[in-house]
C-alpha cells in the first residue's frame, strides 16, 4: 500500500510539472509582452522591470526561464491581476470556497437521489418504469447545461418567482466571510438575522445546484443501474438467495456496496466535465466563484488571472481525481488484491 501511495504521489508531481510546462509554453505565446504576461503589471517602472527580469530569469535561456517560472509559480506567486492589481492567489483563494460549496451541494444531491433511483431501475421488472428512467437520464445527459440553467431560472425565477436567480445571497445581508462557505458563514455570523440569512443562502443555491446536479445525477443512475444488473447475476448473490436471506438484505448488504465501487470510479472520470459545467453554471447564475472569475478574466484578457486560475483549478482537479482513485482502491477489496499481487 505504501508503495502504491508513493506511486500516486509521483504521478501527481509529474502531472503538475507537465501542467506547469504547458502553461510556461502557452505564456510565451500570449499576444502581449512577456514581463506583462508574467507579472500582470502593465506599465512597470524601471525597478519593477528589473525585478521581474530577475524573478523570471528573462535574460537566461529557455531552461533557466522555465525553472524560474516553475519556482515562482509553485511557491505561490501567481502575479498581480491585471484588472484589479491584487495578487492572483488572494483572489483565487477567495473564489474557491464558493465553487466548492456549489460542487459539494450538487454532488450530494446527485448521489442522494441517483443511487436509490439506479437501484430501483435495476430491480424494477416493469418495462415502462425502466424505459422512463432510462429516457430521463439520457435526456439529462444530453441537455446543454447553459440552456438548462436559463430555462430553470426563467421558470422558477422569473415566471413563478419562487427562487432567486443570481448571486449567493441577498445583498442586504452582511455576512463576515469566515470559512468562505456561505451556508456555514451565515450560521456562524452573530447577526440577529442569521437564520433568515441562512434561508436566503439556501434559496440562492437551490437552482444552481440542481442545474449542476443533473449531469452527475444521470451518470450515477446509469452506472448504479448497470453495476447492479451485473452484480445481481453473480454467484454470490445467488448463494445469498439460496441461503434464504431477504431480498432487501441482499440488495443493501451485498449488492449495493459492490455496485458503488464503479460509481466512485466514474465520479473520478467525470470530474473534468463536472468542473466545466460548474464554471458555466456560475456564469449563468452570476455566483461568485472560480468559474465566473476565470471567465471574467478571459473577457478582460487578464493574462495572470488566466494562468493562475488554470493552474489552480487544474491542480485541484488532478489532485481530486487521484484522490478518488486512491479511495476507490482503498475501499475496493478486489483492487487491493491487484495491488497486493503487483508488489
Amino acid at each position: 500500500m505504501g508503495r502504491y501511495l508513493l506511486r500516486r504521489l509521483n504521478l501527481f508531481l509529474a502531472t503538475s510539472l507537465a501542467l506547469v510546462t504547458v502553461l510556461f509554453i502557452t505564456t510565451s505565446y500570449f499576444p502581449v509582452s512577456k514581463p506583462f504576461a508574467l507579472s500582470g503589471i502593465a506599465t512597470p517602472t524601471t525597478e519593477q522591470l528589473a525585478q521581474i527580469e530577475a524573478d523570471y530569469q528573462l535574460n537566461g535561456n529557455q531552461l533557466q526561464q522555465f525553472i524560474a517560472y516553475a519556482q515562482t509559480r509553485l511557491s505561490g506567486d501567481l502575479g498581480l491581476s491585471v484588472t484589479s492589481q491584487r495578487p492572483v492567489l488572494e483572489e483565487l483563494t477567495q473564489a474557491l470556497p464558493a465553487s466548492f460549496e456549489l460542487a459539494i451541494v450538487s454532488g450530494i444531491i446527485a448521489v442522494l437521489f441517483g443511487v436509490p433511483l439506479g437501484v430501483l431501475a435495476s430491480l424494477s421488472k416493469n418495462k415502462i418504469t425502466q424505459h422512463s428512467i432510462m429516457a430521463i437520464t439520457l435526456t439529462g445527459y444530453s441537455i446543454p447545461v447553459f440552456w438548462l440553467g436559463l430555462t430553470l431560472s426563467l421558470w422558477f425565477g422569473v415566471e413563478l418567482g419562487w427562487l432567486p436567480v443570481s448571486g449567493r445571497i441577498n445583498l442586504l445581508y452582511e455576512i463576515e466571510p469566515v470559512s468562505g462557505f456561505m451556508l456555514i458563514d451565515t450560521l456562524l455570523s452573530d447577526s440577529a438575522y442569521r437564520i433568515s440569512a441562512f434561508k436566503d443562502a439556501v434559496f440562492h443555491i437551490i437552482l444552481p445546484a440542481i442545474t449542476l446536479a443533473v449531469l452527475p445525477f444521470t451518470v450515477v443512475v446509469r452506472i448504479t443501474r448497470a453495476a447492479m444488473l451485473n452484480i445481481m447475476e453473480l454467484p454470490f448473490i445467488k448463494a445469498a438467495e439460496a441461503r434464504g436471506l431477504h431480498t432487501g438484505t441482499i440488495v443493501l448488504r451485498h449488492a449495493l456496496p459492490n455496485a458503488l465501487i464503479p460509481v466512485l470510479k466514474n465520479m473520478g472520470l467525470m470530474l473534468g466535465t463536472f468542473a466545466s459545467y460548474a464554471m458555466i453554471v456560475e456564469v449563468i447564475f452570476s455566483r461568485q466563484g472560480v468559474g465566473s472569475w476565470l471567465v471574467a478574466g478571459i473577457y478582460q484578457r487578464d493574462y495572470t488571472v488566466i494562468q493562475g486560475g488554470v493552474l489552480g483549478v487544474a491542480l485541484i482537479i488532478i489532485f481530486f481525481s487521484i484522490l478518488i482513485e486512491v479511495l476507490h482502491n482503498a475501499y475496493n477489496p478486489l483492487s487491493r488484491k491487484e495491488i497486493y499481487a503487483a508488489n
Binding site: 453473480l234 454467484p235 454470490f236 448463494a239 439460496a242 434464504g244 431477504h246 451485498h254 475496493n332
Partner: protein
C-alpha cells in the same frame, strides 16, 4: 417417508430457438440421512434440478411437476416467501465456485455470522460475541484451525478449499435437513477434493444430514454415495443403490460411463482404444425425440423414438426399452 420426493419434474426454457425441455420428466427420491449422488455430463440439467428444488428459478423457466413433496408438504403450493424461509432453515446449498459464492466486499466472518440463525434468547449486548463464538465453532467443525484469521479475511485471500469449507460451514450453520452440493470440488486438487468429500460424509453420518451430491465424475461419487441417479440430457437414465448400480448397470448409458473409467488394476494394453460412446451430447436446440440417448446408444432400435418410462424393479429404477441383464419392464405404456 422420503424427505424429498419429486415425480416427473419438467423444466422448459424459453430460448431464441423456441421452448426447450431442458429437464424432461425427472424423478428423484431422497430418504432422510441418505447421501444421494447425481451424476451427469455438463449441460445435462443437474444445476437446473438443484435450483428447481431450491426454488430460485431463472426468469425464462416454466416448471411443471406431478409431485414435489418436501417432508409431506407440497413445494409447488408454497409461496415464494415460504420457499425462501424453507431454504434458509431446512435446505442448504453449496455451489461449485466457492470463491465467487462469497461476497468480495465483506469479510468471510461477517458473512458467516449473517448466515447463522438469530438466537433471541441471548441478551443483545452479548449477542455479538456469542455469535462470533458460534461462528468459530462451526469453522472448527469444518476443519479450519486458524478461525480468527479466516474470519477476518476476504474471500480472495483464501484458497478454494478453504472457501468451500466456509461455504459448508455457512450451509450447516442453520442445521438443515438437506444439503445440496452442486459440484463442490470443481477445479480443486485431489487432496482438497478428498477433504471436502470426507467432511460431507462425516456430516452425513454425525448430524444425519441428507446430502444431494451433484457431480460429473462417477468414480468420485461411487466412493461416497449410498444412492446414485444418472442423468443424461435432462432425462433420468438409471437410479438405485450405488453398489448395485456399479455391480450390474441396467442402462446402456450407465454401462458406457463405467466403461469410460479405465481399469488400472489389470494392465491396459498399449494403444488400446478407450471405450466411449460415439458422438457427443446434443445441444439444447437439437434434442432428439424419444430417448435422448437414442442416436448414440449401442442398443438403440426403432422403438427408442418413443420415450421409455421409468420402470421399477426392487429398489432400482431405469428408463430403457432394451436394458442389460433384465427383462424389459411390463408397465411400459408405449408398448
Amino acid at each position: 417417508m422420503p424427505l424429498l420426493d419429486i415425480r416427473n419434474l419438467t423444466i422448459e426454457l424459453d430460448t431464441p430457438h423456441g421452448r426447450v425441455k431442458a429437464l424432461e420428466r425427472v424423478s428423484l427420491m431422497i430418504n432422510p440421512g441418505e447421501l444421494h449422488g447425481l451424476v451427469g455430463e455438463s449441460g445435462s440439467g443437474r444445476t437446473l434440478l438443484a435450483r428447481a428444488i431450491l426454488g430460485v428459478p431463472g426468469h425464462n423457466w416454466t416448471i411443471t411437476a406431478d409431485r414435489m413433496m418436501w417432508d409431506g408438504q407440497n413445494l409447488m403450493d408454497m409461496s415464494p416467501k415460504q420457499r425462501r424461509n424453507l431454504m434458509g432453515s431446512e435446505i442448504a446449498v453449496i455451489f461449485q465456485d466457492p470463491m465467487g459464492s462469497l461476497d468480495p466486499a465483506i469479510t468471510v466472518g461477517s458473512q458467516l455470522i449473517e448466515a447463522m440463525p438469530q438466537d433471541k434468547t441471548i441478551s443483545f449486548w452479548k449477542r455479538n460475541s456469542a455469535r462470533k463464538a458460534i461462528a468459530q465453532k462451526w469453522l472448527h467443525k469444518v476443519g479450519i484451525k486458524n478461525t480468527e484469521e479466516v474470519m477476518s479475511s476476504y474471500a480472495w485471500e483464501l484458497s478454494a478449499g478453504e472457501c468451500q469449507k466456509v461455504m459448508i460451514a455457512m450451509a450447516i450453520a442453520n442445521q438443515p435437513r438437506l444439503l445440496i452440493a452442486d459440484e463442490p470440488t470443481d477445479s480443486m486438487e485431489l487432496s482438497t477434493q478428498a477433504q471436502i468429500f470426507r467432511l460431507l460424509s462425516k456430516l452425513n453420518q454425525l448430524h444425519s444430514v441428507s446430502i444431494l451430491l451433484i457431480s460429473h465424475e462417477l468414480e468420485t461419487l461411487s466412493g461416497w454415495c449410498d444412492q446414485l441417479t444418472v442423468l443424461y440430457c435432462g432425462q433420468v437414465m438409471e437410479s438405485g443403490p450405488t453398489a448395485e448400480v456399479l455391480e450390474q448397470p441396467y442402462h446402456p448409458y450407465t454401462k458406457a460411463l463405467l466403461d469410460n473409467m479405465p481399469d488400472f488394476s489389470s494392465g491396459l494394453a498399449h494403444k488400446s482404444v478407450m471405450q466411449t460412446l460415439p458422438g457427443s451430447s446434443p445441444a439444447l436446440q437439437h434434442l432428439p425425440i424419444g430417448c435422448r440417448l437414442g442416436p448414440r446408444c449401442p442398443q438403440a432400435q426403432k422403438r427408442c423414438v418413443s420415450k421409455p418410462s421409468l420402470c421399477h424393479q426392487k429398489d432400482r429404477y431405469f428408463a430403457c426399452h432394451f436394458p442389460y441383464n433384465s427383462e424389459p419392464c411390463n408397465d411400459d405404456p408405449t408398448t
